[in-house]
């Protein structure tokens, strides 16, 4: 298996696992009437740090990616949930779970694209 294919395989597992974990955590915490922001933020940062470390990004860039994605995740997730509730009339819990899953996928794959741009040879 080539290096590129191996990397994509690892990243695929990572992103999908974290996306599922995000969704499950959001569902469980909301069911218990608890705030999910802390756990979801920690999971997002964890995913980004793992992807960045896998592609040998330096610490400063890993930190920048983690910070950017944690903010992007919060605002995307919040705005996405509101949109779903307004336009598709989903329940708040449902819309939060779906948005959490999709936001994690988007952030993960965006980070992977940045890593691919870095490793691409001219």
């Amino acid at each position: 298996m080539g290096e590129r294919t191996k990397n994509k395989y690892i990243v695929k597992i990572l992103i999908h696992s974290f996306a599922v974990f995000h969704a499950v955590s959001s569902y469980v915490l909301q069911s218990l009437g608890q705030q999910d922001a802390i756990l979801l933020t920690a999971l997002t940062i964890g995913m980004i740090v793992l992807i960045a470390t896998h592609f040998d990004f330096p610490l400063e860039v890993t930190f920048a990616l983690a910070l950017l994605n944690s903010f992007a995740g919060f605002y995307l997730g919040t705005a996405g949930a509101v949109l779903l509730q307004d336009y598709i009339s989903l329940s708040p819990m449902c819309s939060n779970v779906i948005t959490t899953f999709m936001t994690t996928e988007i952030l993960g794959w965006m980070t992977y694209l940045i890593a691919q741009y870095k490793t691409r040879k001219e």
Partner: protein, 348 residues
């Protein structure tokens, strides 16, 4: 029982926790302050960005700070120092932008006690802080990607130059002219002076052994290269006799420095290839050191006809030093002398 956590993992954990704390602090703090002071971040953002001078100032300052920091602290070298300086710059730029946005007269109320109208300043600070953070972070990522691309390109160019140099080295190994001339000299020596012929054969064999042993090496010790260059010169001396002279003055303290293999030999070869050599007008080659450079200098007495590969070996050597080590080979030429200065590298 303590578990030893590797340094890199500790650093990553620390940065992850810092990113997490900053994110929680900002967003949760923002929620509390929005409720306390009754403002919308979106409205504050619009107000700040509608002021083009402030926006331009923030963008230019943020980008400028990242480029300046990168000149002093390149990525991966001193991450915590760099991040601390970025954070400090972020605070300073945020405060300056806030002062530019907020009408200073209106933020102080003239009552018996001078009080700061925090309900006007806090939203602006938060808006500027978020905007500057985003710009700084994006610039950091973008600059790193650009530098990575340049580094990858430089490595590829270096590999290409190295491949070309190796190809030329291989060509020289089998160089028919060199072998032809050496065999002609050998033919003469075998009949006239068998002892010298034997020494000549040993030196010729040693030359080829050195070329074969160092085919794959990027760098060799200077003392080995000096021995090889001297041995090569001795072979040329058998051919040109009094027409060729060389003086080598290299202190022992430089012998553990590193140099590209066959670099010295290439310059000696070039000197003999492109200059007239005769006993009436001998070619004098000097090899000496000058601070962290090794200098090969010869008097200039150019041949009328030059070979079609003129400059190729030297160009490849220059390209290799630039692309792989970031150092320049210096070439100086005047009416009397041709001088080439090669950087000496440390073992690390």
């Amino acid at each position: 029982m303590s578990i030893a956590i590797p340094k890199k993992i500790r650093q990553i954990l620390l940065l992850a926790i810092t990113a997490f704390s900053l994110r929680m602090l900002y967003v949760e703090g923002l929620n509390i302050l929005q409720n306390t002071f009754d403002f919308s971040l979106l409205d504050v953002f619009s107000a700040i960005l509608s002021n083009s001078y402030v926006t331009m100032f923030m963008i230019i300052s943020d980008i400028g700070i990242i480029y300046l920091l990168n000149k002093r602290y390149c990525y991966g070298r001193y991450p915590f120092v760099r991040l601390s300086l970025e954070f400090l710059s972020l605070i300073i730029i945020t405060l300056i932008s806030t002062l530019m946005v907020v009408d200073l007269k209106s933020i102080f109320s003239y009552s018996t006690v001078l009080t700061l109208q925090v309900n006007q300043v806090i939203p602006v600070i938060l808006g500027c802080l978020l905007f500057n953070t985003i710009v700084i972070v994006i610039t950091d990522i973008f600059l790193y990607l650009r530098l990575s691309q340049k580094k990858t390109l430089a490595i590829e160019i270096g590999k290409k130059n190295k491949a070309r140099l190796q190809y030329n080295k291989l060509k020289r190994q089998l160089n028919p002219h060199f072998l032809f001339n050496s065999l002609n000299v050998l033919d003469y020596l075998v009949h006239t002076d068998p002892d010298r012929a034997s020494t000549f054969i040993k030196k010729l064999a040693a030359n080829y052994r050195y070329l074969l042993n160092n085919e794959e090496q990027e760098l060799v010790f200077l003392h080995n290269e000096i021995k090889f260059a001297q041995s090569y010169f001795d072979l040329m001396k058998e051919r040109f006799d009094k027409g060729l002279e060389m003086k080598m003055e290299i202190s022992d303290s430089f012998h553990e420095c590193m140099i590209v293999p066959c670099g010295l030999q290439l310059l000696i070869e070039n000197a003999t290839k492109h200059n007239i050599i005769s006993s009436e007008s001998p070619l004098r080659i000097e090899v000496y050191t000058e601070s962290d450079l090794i200098v090969v200098k010869n008097n200039l007495q150019p041949k009328l006809s030059t070979s079609p590969s003129f400059g190729m070996g030297l160009n490849n050597l220059c390209g290799q030093y630039t692309a792989m080590f970031g150092k320049d080979v210096l070439i100086e030429k005047n009416d009397r002398f041709f001088v080439v200065k090669i950087p000496l590298l440390n073992q690390d």
